[in-house]
């Protein structure tokens, strides 16, 4: 019976905490090395996408139901925050939570509507919510700015450095929270629902509750991120609800490795950086993204994380189960 003490004992917990601790330290200390505001803004974007990809992963990576409309939550909260700021003068410490609550309610809505749906049907309905919101934004020129969106939103902080730290700390909190949530019984239950919902129900799990709660958490986090983005850009537009954003977030999580929380972090950083560095190629970067996703799905469906951890295991001869 050797080994199972170790698998569940405190050593494993501290090992994981260490890894994430190092990551957090790098994030917090990076501005000592990186001073150029251009890079700080780029890293802000990375933080933003990490939060989006990880929140997406909590739902879709674990339950296996691919959400094609994450932008519904992002934009819903983003616009909510912008409106509250522009009309009521609320600042970010109020708009972000408000956005999160609205997004959670959106998550409740979609979660309940999609309860009995799986696979492509689930994907289709989630897509529809996003698309409907997008179209609604486009036609509502008077109240919601139409194609132009809403400008003049109060800024998040007065410098790229401020934005960097705000988003960085938020990201670290989200990553830590989601990671340990995923390794807890909650995560295991979600995975069981994704593996075999019938068996999960047959083992006494209230799958309805868990699916809806996962939706709400995923949505709320994405929503707060959306509101944060609204302040940082000082603007919201219908493109925040567009399916290309949903697709982008999805691809980041898939390339990095769905169902792990860690994978999406890598995917988000990687694709955001690639996006930037290939800016000169214009629209072709999406070509590379999608090409990358195709390659990943065909050859390494579990994403970068799997490739890396297999390589790591081969190097260290470590036969333990993956992180």
């Amino acid at each position: 019976m050797e080994g199972y003490e170790e698998l569940f004992g405190p050593r494993r917990f501290y090992r994981r905490l260490l890894g994430l601790g190092i990551f957090s330290a790098i994030v917090l200390l990076a501005p000592l090395v990186v001073e150029d505001p251009y890079y700080l803004e780029l890293l802000f974007l990375c933080h933003y996408y990490v939060i989006l990809a990880c929140s997406w992963d909590l739902l879709s990576g674990f339950t296996g139901n691919i959400n094609f409309g994450h932008a519904f939550f992002i934009a819903g909260a983003g616009y909510t925050g912008a409106l509250l700021n522009l009309n009521l003068g609320w600042q970010y410490w109020l708009t972000l939570p408000a956005g999160g609550i609205i997004a959670a309610l959106f998550g409740l809505l979609v979660g309940v509507v999609t309860l009995r749906l799986k696979g492509p049907y689930f994907a289709a309905v989630t897509f529809c919510f996003g698309a409907l919101l997008y179209k609604w934004f486009m036609v509502s020129s008077k109240s919601l700015g139409g194609e132009e969106g809403l400008s003049g939103v109060a800024s998040l902080s007065d410098s790229p450095l401020g934005n960097y730290y705000f988003s960085g700390i938020f990201m670290i909190a989200v990553v830590l929270g989601l990671y340990f949530l995923s390794k807890s019984s909650f995560g295991l239950i979600l995975r069981s629902i994704g593996e075999n919902e019938t068996a999960s129900e047959g083992s006494g799990i209230n799958t309805i509750y868990f699916k809806v709660v996962a939706f709400m958490i995923s949505a709320a986090i994405a929503g707060v991120a959306g509101a944060m983005y609204a302040h940082a850009q000082m603007h919201v537009g219908p493109e925040m609800a567009h399916d290309s954003l949903s697709a982008l977030v999805l691809m980041m999580a898939v390339v990095g490795g769905m169902g792990s929380i860690i994978g999406p972090i890598m995917g988000a950083y990687l694709l955001t950086m690639v996006n930037e560095s290939l800016r000169f190629m214009g629209e072709l970067r999406l070509l590379i993204y999608s090409g990358a996703v195709v390659a990943v799905i065909l050859f390494a469906p579990k994403g970068l994380l799997e490739i890396l951890s297999q390589g790591f295991r081969r190097v260290t001869g470590d036969r333990q189960k993956a992180v």
Partner: protein, 287 residues
């Protein structure tokens, strides 16, 4: 009165175009059990190839159309062989893969042709007047071609040996295997046919709507709505639902605006899946 005729005619034309795209989609869904999100890309490729052959290379219309459709059919089969076949049982991955492929093609078109719409000359110039409404010949041809091919497909599935074997695989793959039907071939052929049909739609629509790199998404999701309403794998259902969608969109567009018309299929998908997860006209196949 003119309005009614206009709505009816336009609705029928669009219904016919949608049905070309939707029957292929429902076939794949019904036969291989997969959702091919790159289906809309076949439509798009048809349009772009029509542009390339007809406008750029000045090849005559019939030959261009033939080449475009054949090329897209082959691409479809290649995608099935290389991409989908290894992943048959993993539906989530097929979804993501085909979505990525669709985006890939979109960007490829951006790269090769640029973001502006590419025009294609109408195959037959001119219009007729029907009930006080001007209808271009191009639209009429599209209608007839669409109807013709849908009927041809229906005959193929119901009457020919190959068609019936495809239908058999759709109903019960294991039984089909026992009867010696090669299901892989059936899948690939179905993919080729459905891609070809979508391409036909693209070719004939290209003079009406310009070819743009994002044109793959709306027919895809509308086809999805149609398939859900009409029932998976049901040809008849797809045809009826296509017409329904064509009419309702045209009606809404007339009463409100084109933007709202674009919301019809979205709301339809949500309503149908929530209220009757097996589809309205289906034979009750589990969603």
């Amino acid at each position: 009165m003119t309005a009614l005729v206009s709505i009816f005619v336009l609705g029928t034309i669009w219904g016919a175009v949608y049905s070309l795209i939707a029957v292929g989609f429902t076939l794949i869904f019904g036969v291989a059990g997969i959702v091919n999100l790159s289906h809309g890309a076949f439509y798009m490729l048809g349009a772009y190839l029509a542009y390339t052959f007809m406008t750029l290379l000045n090849i005559n219309v019939p030959l261009s159309a033939l080449m475009a459709v054949a090329a897209v059919a082959l691409i479809g089969m290649a995608i099935d062989y290389l991409g989908i076949r290894p992943l048959r049982e993993r539906h989530a991955y097929v979804l993501i893969l085909t979505l990525a492929l669709a985006l890939f093609f979109q960007e490829l078109m951006y790269g090769i042709y640029g973001p502006y719409g590419k025009p294609v000359k109408s195959f037959v110039v001119g219009e007729i007047v029907l009930g006080g409404v001007y209808i271009s010949y191009q639209k009429l041809i599209t209608l007839f071609v669409a109807a013709a091919f849908v009927i041809l497909l229906w005959l193929f599935i119901k009457k020919t040996k190959t068609g019936k074997s495809i239908s058999a695989v759709a109903q019960n793959k294991d039984a089909a295997i026992l009867m010696g039907i090669q299901y892989e071939k059936a899948y690939r052929m179905t993919m080729g046919i459905s891609a070809g049909l979508a391409a036909i739609a693209g070719v004939f629509i290209s003079p009406i709507l310009e070819a743009v790199p994002t044109m793959w998404s709306f027919p895809l999701f509308k086809a999805f709505a149609i398939v859900i309403i009409g029932g998976l794998g049901s040809l008849e259902g797809a045809i009826i639902a296509s017409l329904l969608l064509g009419y309702s969109e045209t009606l809404v567009s007339f009463l409100f605006s084109a933007n709202y018309a674009d919301m019809v299929y979205l709301i339809a998908i949500i309503l149908v899946l929530v209220l009757r997860p097996t589809g309205i006209l289906s034979k009750g196949r589990r969603a």
